[in-house]
């Protein structure tokens, strides 16, 4: 408690405690001193977060701490917001995605994204999965067929959907819809999969399935997921980043964060003392 008070006294900022697990494949997304403003209001303060390739990174923190904002900064979805300003860098393969002249559309093709609520398009299952390829100009049927099967298999939806590929995707259940969105997210074979609270609108059984799926996808994809459920973060992620009021408080290996956090505020949060 006294530590929290100290941090508050020092305007709530202390350098991030880092003890994350490193990947032997290197860094997928290198977030460096990233600041973000909505108009005059600063939402992210100096975040530095090297996301490790092939691992699952969970972003946790109380509502409004900026974890979704940070996630959406990674594929520049925040560009849609009026009056947005940023500083700092997000490096992918050494290139800053916020450089002038970066093709945002090409960038987004390298990152799949799954949203809080399942948002399948009002088309058939087949068309949903192939959408990222079709907007990319792929028309060859063999490639599309192959992609549908691979993505749906990866998203553990193939067995349920293979007989109704040309039925409307809106006829699927909530959990199936979310797995379809994951299949869509990985259809163009991205390097990174961004998940914004992918299970918050789902029932426990569907949640368990998605979590199992995340476990299977890790390794092949780098996954960054925002979650409100600390138990979920503990179950599926390798590294966990704890954010508070737009600041990255602690970024470390998941087991350590939940059992032996280095920052008092992290400890308060993961033990349920606030948030």
């Amino acid at each position: 408690m006294t530590d929290t008070a100290t941090i508050d006294a020092a305007q709530g900022y202390e350098p991030t405690a880092n003890h994350y697990k490193t990947s032997d494949q290197g860094v997928a997304l290198d977030i460096q001193n990233f600041n973000l403003w909505y108009g005059d209001k600063q939402a992210l303060f100096d975040n530095t977060l090297p996301v490790q390739k092939g691992l699952v990174t969970a972003l946790i923190g109380p509502s409004g701490c900026g974890k979704s904002t940070l996630l959406r900064s990674l594929n520049r979805m925040n560009d849609l917001v009026d009056g947005l300003r940023i500083s700092g860098k997000v490096l992918v393969d050494g290139f800053d995605i916020y450089n002038k002249g970066v093709d945002v559309i090409a960038l987004r093709k390298r990152m799949g994204m799954v949203f809080q609520k399942p948002n399948p398009f009002a088309m058939s299952i087949y068309d949903n999965v192939t959408y990222p390829l079709r907007v990319d100009g792929v028309t060859k049927k063999s490639i599309l067929d192959e992609t549908v099967e691979r993505s749906l298999r990866s998203a553990a939806l193939w067995d349920e959907a293979k007989d109704r590929l040309h039925d409307s995707a809106l006829g699927l259940s909530g959990g199936q819809q979310q797995r379809l969105c994951i299949a869509r997210g990985i259809a163009s074979d991205p390097e990174v999969l961004l998940m914004d609270e992918p299970c918050s609108a789902l029932d426990p059984i569907a949640t368990a399935k998605i979590e199992e799926l995340i476990g299977q996808l890790a390794g092949a994809y780098t996954i960054v997921m925002v979650t409100h459920s600390m138990s979920q973060a503990a179950r599926v992620s390798h590294n966990t980043a704890f954010m508070y009021l737009g600041r990255l408080i602690e970024y470390g290996e998941t087991t350590t964060i939940f059992t032996n956090p280095k920052q008092a505020r992290t400890n308060d949060y993961v033990t349920g003392r606030f948030g």
């Binding site: 559309i105 907007v135 809106l170 997210g185």
Partner: protein, 588 residues
């Protein structure tokens, strides 16, 4: 107040719940005790008012529809001809159309005998009268006559009165005095009359075809040759060898066409000569006889001697004539086919203009334009445009489209026809553009609503897939918004199809000589003026020489216009619902 106020809690199983309820009841005691609330608080009177307003609205609308439908449906039913003998000895024959009580004037009263006067004065000077359609305009100079009940000596419905619908001069009511078949006078015989009438109508149709279609085609070609000649002179200058050659070529083909024209004219004359041999002598009730060609009679029947089946036959044959032929007799008789065609063509053309224009504008406003003061200003202006009186659009359409744009088009492309305007006057193109302008706010507002109703998650999902903004709009947003856009189109169509005032300035005419689409190159003539059902109603009912005769047609045409608009809207609604099912099926 402490929570552990245990005395109030009854010793039952549901102690906690019962405790809560009891505490509230006792705590708020004095205020809650009265269980019947104040009448105004319940809102019952307001409910009655709402229900009453709705009921009133429904009664008004259904009464209005019933009136139009009843008058429209009964107009074509054959009604009996009555022979009316008046006390002063005059005899007249006619169809009773309407009647009612009226106040008898002093001067009329003076002419009556004492008994009658006493009777009318007993009724406080009110007598009733009937309006008879006596027809025979060529003989009487009027189609209708009021007859007061006290004038009538006797009424009868003789079987030998016939009702003749003529090609010109309107209806004739009278007896058949005789027939002339092949120049020979013959005894009246219904079978012979029916046979000869059919043959005569065929001759009539043949003459019409020759005169209108074939001779019309020749006239059209002659006109084209004349224009080609004029164009050559304009292009190459007067007296130049090129124009000289063109003139010679044109003159040659005109001479050829003139020869063709002569042949056709001879054919027509031949048929007409035959046609004159087949005549009918009609005798009006006063004994005067009118002798005309049988082919000049569209339809004839003995009104008082018809079986139900024959009446039904006449009823439907009149409906068919109404929707499938051209008007005659200053639009008070015949059909409204050109007006139906004009209304539908103009409305569809308007949709073709308004749909892309409105949707694109709304797309830009909602999806691309920076939302700020200027966008709001544009939006407010668009909304206000919907409230501008439609005649203002008519004036604009005439001034801008017809005179300015059309005038320039004439200068550039139709110079050979000047000073006769081609596009520089009202026409179906300018009319539909004017209406498109009139209805575009509706489409813009509806489209904007539909676009903003597309959930953000859909757009984000698409953008996250690496789709560009345009692809997102094209594949995700537009299909999802389509039913809403269609609703806007339906509203626009309904408004456009029913609009008359601006059309009167930009191309609607009383009688269009030709349809905007016909067999002559380039087949679609957007410069032509056209007929419109809405204007037809106005014209027939209130602008014709004989508006009493046109009155029944007003209701029939109104009924038809309503039916047409309902049909067009229903079609659009069906299409929209298909789209809705396709895009919103099983959403949740």
């Amino acid at each position: 107040m402490s929570v552990s106020n245990d005395q109030d809690i009854p010793a039952s199983g549901a102690a906690g719940l019962a405790g809560v309820a009891a505490r509230e009841a006792t705590g708020g005691g004095r205020r809650v005790r009265r269980f019947s609330a104040d009448l105004s608080a319940v809102g019952e009177p307001a409910l009655w008012a709402f229900g009453g307003a709705l009921a009133l609205g429904i009664i008004l609308i259904s009464g209005f529809l019933f009136m139009i439908a009843w008058n429209g449906m009964t107009t074509f039913w054959p009604k009996p001809i009555e022979q009316v003998e008046l006390r002063d000895g005059t005899v007249l024959a006619g169809v009773a159309t309407r009647g009612g009580p009226y106040r008898v004037g002093e001067d009329v009263l003076l002419t009556l005998d004492d008994a009658q006067r006493a009777e009318i004065e007993g009724e406080l000077g009110i007598a009733s009268r009937t309006l008879y359609k006596t027809a025979n305009f060529d003989l009487y100079g009027d189609d209708f006559r009021w007859v007061s009940d006290f004038e009538v000596a006797s009424l009868s419905q003789p079987d030998d009165f016939w009702y003749f619908e003529r090609q010109v001069w309107g209806v004739f009511i009278g007896r058949i005095a005789g027939l002339t078949v092949g120049g020979e006078p013959r005894e009246m015989d219904r079978a012979l009359l029916a046979r000869e009438h059919t043959a005569a109508r065929e001759r009539f149709a043949q003459m019409r075809r020759l005169e209108q279609r074939e001779i019309g085609a020749i006239n059209h070609r002659i006109e084209r040759e004349r224009l080609a000649q004029r164009r050559a002179v304009l292009r190459h200058g007067e007296g130049s060898p090129q124009s000289q050659a063109a003139i010679e070529a044109a003159q040659a083909s005109i001479a050829e066409l003139q020869a063709e024209f002569q042949t056709l004219q001879a054919q027509v004359n031949e048929i007409r000569a035959t046609d004159r041999q087949y005549r009918i002598q009609m005798e009006e009730v006063g004994g005067r006889v009118v002798d005309i060609e049988l082919s000049q009679i569209v339809r004839l029947f003995p009104s008082n001697d018809l079986s139900l089946g024959q009446k039904i036959g006449i009823y439907f044959s009149r409906w068919w004539e109404f929707i499938s032929t051209e008007p005659r007799e200053a639009n008070t008789q015949g059909g409204v086919l050109p007006a139906i065609f004009g209304t539908v063509a103009m409305t569809l053309l308007m949709v073709v203009f308004v749909a892309p224009f409105g949707v694109i504008t709304a797309l830009y406003l909602r999806e691309y334009a920076k939302q700020g003061r200027i966008t709001s200003l544009v939006r407010i202006s668009v909304n206000n445009l919907a409230g501008v009186p439609s005649i203002v659009y008519g004036v604009f359409g005439l001034g801008f489209f017809a005179y300015t744009m059309g005038g320039s088009i004439d200068q550039l492309f139709y110079a050979e026809n000047l000073p006769n305007p081609t596009f520089g006057k009202g026409g179906i193109l300018w009319a539909s553009l004017t209406l498109a302008l009139l209805t575009v706010p509706v489409v813009i507002v509806a489209t904007e609503e539909a676009l903003s109703a597309v959930p953000r998650s859909m757009r984000e999902g698409s953008l996250a897939c690496g789709a560009s903004k345009w692809q997102t709009i094209r594949y995700i947003v537009l299909p999802k918004a389509m039913p809403g856009i269609m609703t806007g189109m339906i509203l626009a169509m309904a408004r456009g199809a029913g609009e008359v005032a601006p059309l009167m300035l930009v191309g609607v005419v009383k009688l269009a000589p030709a349809l905007p689409i016909d067999g002559f190159y380039p087949f679609v003539h957007l410069d032509r003026s056209f007929m419109h059902l809405g204007f037809h109603i106005f014209d027939v009912g209130f602008q014709s020489r004989n508006s009493e005769a046109g009155k029944p047609m007003v209701f029939v045409t109104t009924l038809l216009l309503l039916a047409l608009i309902v049909t067009m809207n229903a079609t659009a609604i069906i299409i929209r619902n298909r789209l809705k099912r396709k895009y919103a099926d099983g959403q949740f």
